[in-house]
């Protein structure tokens, strides 16, 4: 077998990626390519972040119950991506981050992107979606206390996350198209994507409004009942 078996490979990745691979990719992007190829740099960094996270996942103490609850929520959000127009993926990712912690949030977000793209088609955007949704899950884990406390803050954060997701994907589209960042093209992309962005923001707010309370209640009940 060419690939090193899990434990040692993981250790290598968790050492090499943050200290060598990511700086190297950025340096190569800045100094070696004649024109700045930011698309490649951004793609490389997104892939490395996801890799790093997946490699660190085994070493951390994530109990199998938390793991399975993440799988349940990922399946729900993948199934939700089939709802026409309004997509609950970001909302469910945020809920997962809030109640199960940032690591589980990252897992649910990136898993939803990876699995749903089996049905919707993989592309160079897959690592970016995994990265964007994963980060949303991670940060809602960090902000879980204020998010759980205030409903208004939750809805505002949901609207921001929806808009941010759309903007991150626009940045990627422009970098893919143009090789580097170009503000006038980005403005054009933002304008053309405006209906989508509005739908993202709206569906996020709506789903968080409907789901955050009930799912949160159920999750905290399960957590108390079984001690996750």
């Amino acid at each position: 077998m060419i690939v090193i078996k899990n434990a040692s490979l993981r250790r290598i990745i968790s050492r090499v990626v943050p200290y060598i691979a990511i700086p190297l990719i950025v340096a190569v992007g800045i100094f070696v390519f004649e024109e700045k190829r930011w698309a490649m740099v951004a793609l490389g960094v997104a892939v490395c972040t996801v890799l790093l996270f997946l490699a660190g996942f085994d070493s951390g103490k994530t109990g199998s119950r938390r793991l399975i609850l993440s799988a349940v929520l990922s399946a729900l959000s993948v199934a939700g991506r089939f709802i026409p127009i309004f997509k609950p993926v970001t909302a469910i990712t945020m809920i997962a981050g809030m109640w199960l912690g940032g690591e589980a949030g990252f897992l649910v977000g990136s898993m939803s992107a990876l699995v749903s793209n089996i049905y919707f088609g993989h592309g160079p955007w897959t690592p970016f979606q995994m990265f964007a949704w994963g980060m949303i899950g991670l940060f809602s884990g960090y902000l879980s206390v204020p998010l759980r406390k205030s409903r208004i803050f939750l809805l505002i954060a949901g609207a921001l996350a929806g808009g941010l997701y759309s903007m991150i994907m626009d940045i990627w589209t422009i970098m893919w198209y143009n090789g580097s960042m170009d503000l006038s093209l980005y403005a054009a992309a933002m304008v053309t994507a405006l209906p989508h962005t509005i739908i993202y923001v709206l569906s996020n707010v709506i789903f968080l409004f409907i789901l955050a309370g009930p799912i949160g209640e159920k999750l905290s009940r399960v957590k108390i009942k079984y001690g996750v």
Partner: protein, 292 residues
């Protein structure tokens, strides 16, 4: 028949990633044309029952991406026409066409990739990286059909309690929400039971082994080495910028340094290999004569 679809998933992933990425670097028209030809050839060879609407969508996407650049980007020396005081230049138009072609070429590479990469193959690739991630992936995949079946059961049970009775939209939405709520509770509880069952059987106590259909066979190793060799031959040109094609302010002639020519040839060989294997295997299948 042993075609690209039968190789080891790691080799397949490596092939499609390198085929797509090499054409994204440099924005060189020759590389992009080679990429598009290779990607289309493999896609058409592998998807005979494809409806033409799929190609129509990519054609539309190509038209949009090709038009966006000259409409919003006004660099370039040769002005073709002026709309609302904004010059439409030849260079920006050609850049748009090249970028559009690059995008649909990458799209076709990934379409073939999506068709070949079934969920078990994806799990094999990710399982090498992280056992827990692969486990979560496989559970997510299993939960989707399970949830659909269970949802039907819950819905049938809820119907007997008087839900869904007057058929108005408001009533249906209310009943759907109720079913969804029941489903979430059921799914979470069911998940906990699964976790307990796994732990009772010793999950997490020792090293986990996993079964996969694929080994590194001889043909996998040969194809892997071929990919590495052909990508390696392109690296000098890709990294030194010998492939960079200048659009602005004036279009220069195509790069034809020895490194660039080497890159064209090796990239062409890379993207045409799967189609060649496909054709050879089909010919073998068709013309094989029993010697008995």
């Amino acid at each position: 028949m042993k075609t690209i679809a039968d190789f080891n998933p790691i080799v397949q992933t490596l092939y499609f990633l390198s085929a797509a990425l090499c054409s994204m670097l440099g924005m060189n028209p020759v590389m992009i044309v080679i990429s598009l030809v290779g990607a289309l050839l493999l896609y058409i060879l592998r998807a005979e029952d494809e409806k033409p609407t799929g190609h129509l969508f990519t054609l539309l996407l190509f038209a949009v991406t090709a038009l966006i650049n000259p409409l919003f980007y006004h660099n370039g020396a040769t002005v073709l026409l002026v709309i609302n005081n904004n010059p439409i230049t030849l260079e920006a138009t050609l850049y748009g066409i090249t970028a559009g072609a690059m995008i649909i070429a990458v799209l076709y590479h990934f379409r073939s990739f999506s068709k070949i990469m079934t969920s078990d193959r994806l799990m094999y690739v990710f399982g090498k990286l992280s056992g827990k991630f692969a486990l979560t992936l496989s559970m997510t995949l299993r939960y989707i059909p399970l949830f659909i079946t269970q949802m039907e059961r819950v819905r049938a049970a809820q119907r007997t309690t008087g839900q869904y009775k007057d058929g108005s939209i408001a009533d249906t939405v209310k009943s759907d929400l109720r079913v969804f709520s029941v489903m979430i509770t059921w799914a979470l509880e069911n998940g906990i039971v699964t976790a307990d069952s796994m732990e009772a059987r010793g999950y997490g106590t020792g090293k986990r082994t996993s079964f996969a259909l694929w080994r590194m066979r001889r043909r996998d190793v040969i194809f892997l080495l071929l990919i590495l060799l052909l990508v390696g031959l392109q690296l000098p040109a890709l990294l030194s910028g010998a492939l960079t094609f200048t659009f602005y302010p004036n279009i220069r002639s195509l790069p034809t340094s020895p490194a660039a020519i080497l890159a064209y040839i090796s990239y062409g060989a890379l993207v045409l290999t799967p189609s060649a294997i496909e054709c050879i295997e089909r010919a073998k299948w068709k013309y094989f004569v029993s010697k008995i």
